[in-house]
């Protein structure tokens, strides 16, 4: 359903009926009479772009509504939302243990009859125990928590980080947040202090970064990833972007690294992470490590920036002591896939305590992250262990999701290989593929005639013809004269992939 196209408010309708007497003059002035015409909107908001939920997504939702209302005029019978990593909108089932505990937190009276829970509904004792522990901490999931997140949940996250990295973590350095997006917004809000503040952002990137920098009227300093190396991070590209921005007078304060990467889940090697930390140490850049895909890795190994930083601080005393690192994680991705719950956290390493105070004040204005989302963060970082009653089912579900994601990624990759003018890097993880498309000159002309970027034109035609919604590469950034689109590999089955294959052949034929 579209909320942004056309339909006027009741108030406007009232005035429309007046306007119908002398429509032309009044219509032209009607916008001016309002206090907030488009030209008065915050220019930073106006210039922000966010393609993941832009025009294509709105149109796809319109198609979906038409189909549910019985519209038979469309050339497809379902809409496939491959534009956004929204696992549970598609095939992915929530993990049973997580949802059992959350149901108990929402209705603690269920805890009064654990035997019934077990015999009738399959709850195990560890789910009951966990709910009781969490309730003791938060009192009620309907109460505000500490603005930084419930202390015991932060303690649990710290323990997880310690076990993952082999280095200590402090609950006081952790901020729970409403999904990683909210954490990124907080960090950028605090660290950008003028239109001259710059942040290095990988291209292609997740558009949250560019959009948030637009809102803050700060500079995005792009550095390009290496497509031919499966979208790896190119240290030279970072250095040259940085030097160029500095030469232009930009006060570059921070570097964002998405590791594993969005779009392809490429994991940085220990050496690559060291190179980024070298730049950070030498150039005094705050590192924002977006590590929300840390479990979505098909090949290679995830190494956290925190771990690598601590190793280097031990190996080379002095050099890295003052590197400031913020690393983010989320319940939205991975095998958890609970994005609707808006849970996440960031860890601060090496930040000035006076700055941490400012971050605390900033987040306190919004009071606290959703408490049930905080509890889900706790469950994610502290799942059932081997030997605990819920472990076998948890493990089976978790592995099943992982295998399914990998299989679908490969199926999509194989399909792209079969398509003329489409090239795709081998999937390494995350939830996305980001193929290059090479379009015929006539298609590019047609796009320009329609006043569209060529990749946008292609994606729009794909949606209209097949109901498959993907995002044009321009929404993430791409090198000049290249075209891409991003698709998730979350949708079940392969029939929708065949729709793309068929459309693509027809499109290429039409414009050859």
């Amino acid at each position: 359903m579209s909320t942004v196209t056309g339909t006027t408010t009741t108030g406007t309708n009232t005035s429309s009926s007046i306007l119908s007497i002398a429509p032309k003059r009044d219509l032209s002035t009607s916008t001016d009479v309002r206090r907030l015409a488009l030209q008065h909107v915050n220019p930073n908001v106006r210039k922000a772009k966010y393609a993941v939920r832009g025009e294509l997504a709105v149109k796809a939702e319109e198609y979906r509504v038409r189909l549910t209302e019985g519209d038979k005029s469309l050339p497809f019978d379902s809409v496939i939302f491959a534009n956004i990593g929204n696992p549970q909108q598609l095939d992915q089932k929530p993990i049973t243990f997580f949802r059992q505990v959350l149901s108990l937190l929402e209705n603690p009276t269920l805890l009064e009859q654990p035997e019934v829970l077990k015999t009738a509904f399959g709850y195990q004792q560890d789910a009951v125990d966990r709910a009781q522990t969490l309730l003791q901490e938060v009192q009620s999931v309907g109460a505000y928590s500490h603005s930084q997140g419930a202390p015991a949940i932060r303690a649990s996250v710290a323990k997880f980080i310690e076990e993952r990295d082999g280095f200590p973590a402090n609950p006081q350095d952790l901020f729970l947040c409403a999904g990683a997006s909210s954490g990124v917004s907080t960090l950028l809000n605090v660290m950008c202090d003028s239109p001259n503040s710059g942040v290095l952002v990988p291209i292609p990137q997740y558009p949250l970064y560019t959009a948030t920098l637009s809102l803050l009227d700060a500079q995005c300093v792009p550095y390009y990833l290496e497509e031919h190396k499966a979208w790896g991070t190119d240290i030279d590209a970072i250095r040259s972007s940085l030097q160029m921005a500095k030469a232009e007078g930009t006060d570059v304060r921070s570097i964002v690294v998405i590791n594993p990467g969005n779009p392809t889940g490429a994991s940085l090697s220990a050496d690559d992470i060291k190179s980024v930390l070298d730049i950070a140490a030498e150039e005094r850049l705050i590192v924002i490590a977006d590590e929300v895909y840390q479990t979505n890795v098909f090949s290679g190994e995830f190494i956290s920036f925190k771990k690598r930083l601590r190793q280097l601080q031990h190996e080379v005393p002095g050099k890295y002591d003052h590197v400031e690192l913020a690393s983010l994680h989320s319940v939205s991705k991975g095998m958890v896939g609970e994005c609707g719950h808006r849970g996440g956290y960031f860890e601060l390493v090496g930040f000035d305590p006076l700055v941490v105070e400012q971050i605390y004040k900033f987040v306190s204005i919004m009071l606290c992250p959703p408490v049930i989302g905080q509890c889900l963060v706790e469950l994610m970082v502290n799942p059932p262990k081997p030997g605990q009653p819920s472990h076998d089912l948890y493990n089976k579900e978790y592995s099943g999701i992982r295998t399914g994601l990998h299989q679908r990624a490969l199926a999509l990759y194989e399909a792209f290989k079969r398509m003329d003018g489409v090239e795709c890097q081998e999937p390494q993880g995350s939830m996305y593929l980001f193929p290059t498309i090479t379009l015929p000159a006539k298609a590019i002309e047609a796009a320009h005639a329609a006043n569209r970027a060529p990749d946008e034109f292609y994606c729009l035609r794909l949606l209209d013809a097949t109901g498959v919604c993907v995002v044009p590469g321009s929404g993430f950034g791409q090198k000049a004269n290249t075209l891409h689109f991003r698709t998730t590999f979350l949708a079940p089955g392969t029939a929708w992939v065949e729709r793309i294959v068929k459309f693509h052949a027809e499109f290429m034929e039409e414009y050859k």
Copy 2:
């Protein structure tokens, strides 16, 4: 637990051990070596103030932790968080029907055995039905929804508004949000376009408004409420503040009205609302009606701004057609009290569709409000009706909470009457009282000597002596040379009130 005082990060600890060799020089430069020293933090963040969760709240939490750890050295045995409207942290129990439905949404497998739910756990058929309806809409509470909120939930909110006001409401004009705070932030972000943009804000106010305007580097244009008229809205005060700001060149774009009011729940009369709408129509101000306390009314009647606007649009054709109104509501307050779930909505009336598009884009960057919170909004606006199986219990719980709030408000009010130098307006609603305190000259001197505002000094002493945490009036704004504090009346029992009475007598005696 404190997260902002002192404790260094592990990274800093590493460097501390190095620093211990030559501590003085290195300590003084250690901040400078970091990229983000306090002076580099966004100045808008630095200047923002948010007292509700400030120093006093942090200290109160420290006391709470000490008490739970068995510390016997404090002169009190419990901390009373009267600083924040957090009902379920204190005595208020969640409404059974709401939580039953939420538990089913979190674990839909429970729905497979409705008979067991009924016999063992007291779920009624309407709870089961509602969960099924909501699940059909959102698919999974773990999936992202439409950025504006799930369409069917918005339809339910629109129906509620229509029934409340007697005028149509359109789901497309509604935006669900993560608590009203998030909605206010969205609205101010979109409408403030320069440091010269101004917003009229009532004083005393909820500090969300001043803090958010600070973050946006926009102007708060204060207008004072009339304490002697139970903190009523004074139209002349609005006009004179507006004229003064305009004379200074401020581009005043909007007026915030908190109705019923925070702190005292004073409800605006139909005439007062008309006066505000007159100013809005004449001066072209966008009205932000913060109506989160609409059910917390002990005396008088709540009239929504939307209703009054529609009445006036019918009564006086033309004059009010282009008034832009945004009204907010929330699951956090009222008898629902589910602030930890971060649910709320705002309705836009008369906004330019092109501006609505910008609002949509802005909220889409954070993807969507928490889905379980959206479902709770639906339950709040569409509770069990008379004749439905869950209605009797719902009604009993709802009335019980309302009565309890009123009784505690009166008890606190009576206690204030007994205290020398304390004057308090009769409670009319909301969750707060905001008494004036008149302190002896010696107390004011002592405050200055301690480098504290006098009301802050008083509240700090109160906390140290009694464990009762309230917020100094300066956190909300108060007329020059007046002192206040804000306390909720949510805490159970009256023993804590007696702690205040006793402290106050001793404090007055000490500084007489």
